[in-house]
Amino acid sequence: MGQVYAWLLLLPAAVLLAAFTHYPTIATLGQSFFSTGTAMRPSVYVGLENYQLLLEDEVFWKVANNSFWYAIGTIPASIAIAILMAVWVNGKLPARGLVRMAYFTPTILPMIAVANIWLFFYTPDIGLFDQVAAKFGIARHNWLGNPDTVLGCLIVMTVWKEAGFFMIFYLAALQSLPPELEEAARVEGASRWYFFRRVTFPLLMPTTLFVFVNAGINSFKLVDHLFILTKGGPDNASSLLLYYIYEVAFSFFDEAYAATLTVVLLSVLAIVAIGQFIFLEKRIHYR
């Protein structure tokens, strides 16, 4: 009887998860083995042909490469800046509430709005960056129109957007640390850096894991800005995996290939998430 009761309680969540997460995942996997059907050519089983196509698809490799560098560029930087900001606004400083709010502001803006603002920051000649640079006699830069700088521009914007959000978690974690530790360290004569390195940072590790997983997922999940800023260009230099999936699915209407790409994305995310838990778990000190 107790069993039935427990299952009934679990049912609503289980149904929602199954309908909107598990079933689509399995359906996507299945679809990746079929061709895309049209009214004139119905869908047929093609085995691994879509995966073969994927291996030969230059754009896919470029996009995968971009996604990799985008992750490398955004994750550590936004975590480092988040810790720095959290430590800073956790201390005693004037107008502390105002500073905290200022750091948090980018988080509450929708990504589309942020991209529209930054589009004009980056615009050559009339944009903010070029106007400031011009004051120092630096020549114009076609920030988003150059394949060498465009991905960097996206990374900078994303870090700006994300760091404030992660700061909140670190701030909460910092405030839960017992003050005796710092007093003890001061009595022992430890420097602030030593204290941070050997006490604060290890104690923050559970938060870091959480933030790390989130930043990792976000680096693959956030593509809204691409619609506004670059549409993946020039020549796919700023296209990311999820944006490419969108293009394949809704601009090319190639559902099967989009499913194949989605399977790849899901596998990458699963591997990264498992890796993070296994390797970082050992180094984390839970109280």
Partner: protein, 430 residues
């Protein structure tokens, strides 16, 4: 004798009408129409107004016009509605969606539903250039509605400053290059303060390139939508010219130029010339603080521009009555008077010559001559790039253009590989 017969006939007609009314209440046919808005704002009001006028004249037809987002959204929604069994009967969609819609067996050809000679004549009443994207397999599938082209906007004050005649914008590629060079303004340390010209190369590079290719007397695809000419010598030459304007002649900035911010750059005087959609006319007119002009695009071997925008389509999943009602609605919306009204309110082209003979549009053109430039350019216009697998093929060309403009590939290399890949995609449609 004859009179009695007439009475019988009238009586029979009346009986049918009464029966019909009793069976189906006041409304005989209900239509659902999707339409996109590409430039946003008051357009929904204009469409709703036109539909309300139509319903007033045709009490037996009820139309619900549904705003469906941008062109891409409208296509996705229309196809999804069809699959779900709740289809719309007609829709305004991107003119270049035609092959996709045919391949999905979603639309009917207008030739198959028109009945009278008057209707067949109506099919021929539009500008031929605007029909190009709606005709394939010897049938008409799309009727032009919200259509635009590319025109050249130029800053007359900048022309005066550079010692050029503001009444004579560049009419050839050579002039674009030489005048463009004169229009470039540098500060004391050699940084460019104003560029000669800008052609946007993000968002819709293939569209701008369609103009350059046509000016070099080369179309980008065939009428059947199953062959592209990306590696034709004239195509390569056109892309080379575009790249040279930036990297060699320094008339344009090197790299890609953002579609979305270009209008602001022009309004801020950072470029003396821009190529852009006629859709920007109203915004430029409203916001330019300088004297500006609008001209046809310059000629290479000839003048040329692609058309753009949305067509009416009628879906296959509809009853014959609905198809006739949809036809009636489309004929109403594209009648000369409505076309004139639509063009004045929105800035889109008048789709047929006789619309420009209405009093309203004649007055409007007299008051605001730039509105006539796009119309006059229509005789040099060609279809917008559209093939089977159109999304993929378009992206191949977009990528080739951008790779050339940023200098990672030469025009020949980039277009050669785009052509090779597009041939692979289109093989099974030949």
């Amino acid at each position: 004798m004859f009179n009695t017969f007439k009475y019988y006939l009238a009586g029979a007609a009346l009986a049918v009408a009464v029966f019909g009314l009793a069976a189906q209440s006041a409304v005989a046919v209900e239509l659902t129409m999707y339409y996109p808005v590409a430039v946003g704002g008051p357009l929904t009001k204009v469409v709703d107004g036109l539909v309300a006028d139509f319903e007033k004249q045709n009490a037996d037809i009820k139309v619900s016009a549904i705003y469906a987002g941008n062109y891409n959204d409208a296509r996705i929604k229309a196809l999804a509605a069809m699959k779900s069994g709740q289809p719309a009967q007609l829709s305004v969609m991107f003119s270049i969606d035609i092959y996709e819609l045919i391949e999905q067996d979603a639309i009917v050809a207008f030739d198959d539903i028109v009945k009278s000679d008057a209707d067949r004549a109506w099919l021929k009443s539009f500008y031929p250039a605007l029909m190009e994207n709606g005709v394939t397999r010897n049938k008409t599938w799309g009727i032009p509605f919200q259509r635009s082209t590319i025109v050249m906007y130029y800053n007359k004050d900048a022309f005066r400053e550079a010692g050029l005649d503001p009444a004579k914008p560049p009419a050839t590629w050579a002039e674009l290059q030489s005048m463009g060079a004169k229009l470039v303004k540098k500060d004391s340390s050699g940084n460019v303060e104003r560029w000669g010209a800008m052609i946007p190369s993000t968002g819709y590079p293939y569209w701008m390139f369609g103009a350059l290719a046509m000016q070099n007397d080369q179309v980008l695809m065939n009428r059947d939508g199953n062959k592209t000419y990306f590696d034709a010598p004239a195509t390569v030459e056109a892309l080379q010219f575009w790249q040279d304007l930036g990297s060699k002649h320094k008339v344009m900035p090197a790299g890609t130029i953002e579609w979305g911010t270009l209008r602001q750059s022009f309004l801020d005087g950072k470029t003396a010339i821009m190529w852009h959609s006629t859709g920007n006319l109203t915004a430029v007119k409203k916001n330019a603080k300088f004297d500006f002009g609008v001209a046809m695009l310059p000629a290479g071997k000839r003048r040329g521009t692609p058309t753009g925008g949305g067509n009416f389509y009628i879906f296959k999943k509809s009853t014959p009555e609905q198809q006739q009602a949809a036809l009636k609605l489309i004929k109403f919306m594209t009648s000369p008077e409505r076309t004139a009204e639509w063009s004045i309110e929105t800035g889109y082209l008048g789709t047929r010559p006789d619309a420009y003979e209405t009093k309203e549009l004649m007055n409007y053109v007299k008051e605001f001559p730039p509105a006539a430039v796009a119309r006059d350019q229509l005789k040099y216009a060609t279809a917008e790039l559209s093939t089977y697998q159109t999304g993929r093929v378009r992206k191949l060309l977009d990528d080739a253009i951008q790779a050339t403009l940023v200098g990672t590939k030469t025009a020949g290399e980039a277009l050669g590989s785009a052509q090779q890949q597009s041939e692979g995609l289109l093989k099974r449609y030949q």
